[in-house]
Amino acid sequence: MKSTVQQLRSEAGWPPEEGEVISFKSSTALETATLKEVRWGLVWRDFILEDGRVIPEHRVSGCPRPQVWRKIDEVTDSEREECEGRLLSMAGIGLDPRERDQPFWAELNQYLAYTYLRYKGKVSVPELPR
């Protein structure tokens, strides 16, 4: 599901608007960058920056707590299948999912989180190791 920033505004002042400068926690420090778009993934919202990086909402300064996530049942079959197709395409053209904050990394994170939540409640298997 993809929406514009304006369509996603659900509470006062959040999320920031397209073109605003946002602060977020990177792997090394607190950084600032210009927001290009806010997009729902399979579980949480991703903030797409002008430089192409993808930052999950919970790493953006000012994110309301608790943050709002999608219910697993809200994700449609076609949305999930499109996500699976994009992941395999990105893998097929040689992108590396271990490039942090890049689209492949972000989408794979969400897909694994979604798939885990989707099946976790349906089978009786031991907890995953931390």
């Binding site: 271990r98 694994l112 989180a113 885990y116 976790k120 089978v123």
Partner: protein, 88 residues
Amino acid sequence: MTLSDEETGDQQAWRTLSEAGLVEIRLEEFGEKIRDVKRLVTVRLRELLDLDTSIQERESAAYALGTLKGLELKVQASVPEPPDPSES
């Protein structure tokens, strides 16, 4: 559903994923996490095949498993080679 119920649900999901190390996967753990999720889907697919469930659900689980296998192969293939000790 009330707002507080929704918040509880989101918080539970957050805790579940945090405990599984799936909120933000460490770069060196992608292969391991893909295998973990794959194992979960495999168990579910076996259950679905044993039960008289809808074809759609079985196909969905099977497709997820195929996607995870493809991604696992990709991650394995792109693991950087360790330095050759004979060259030092």
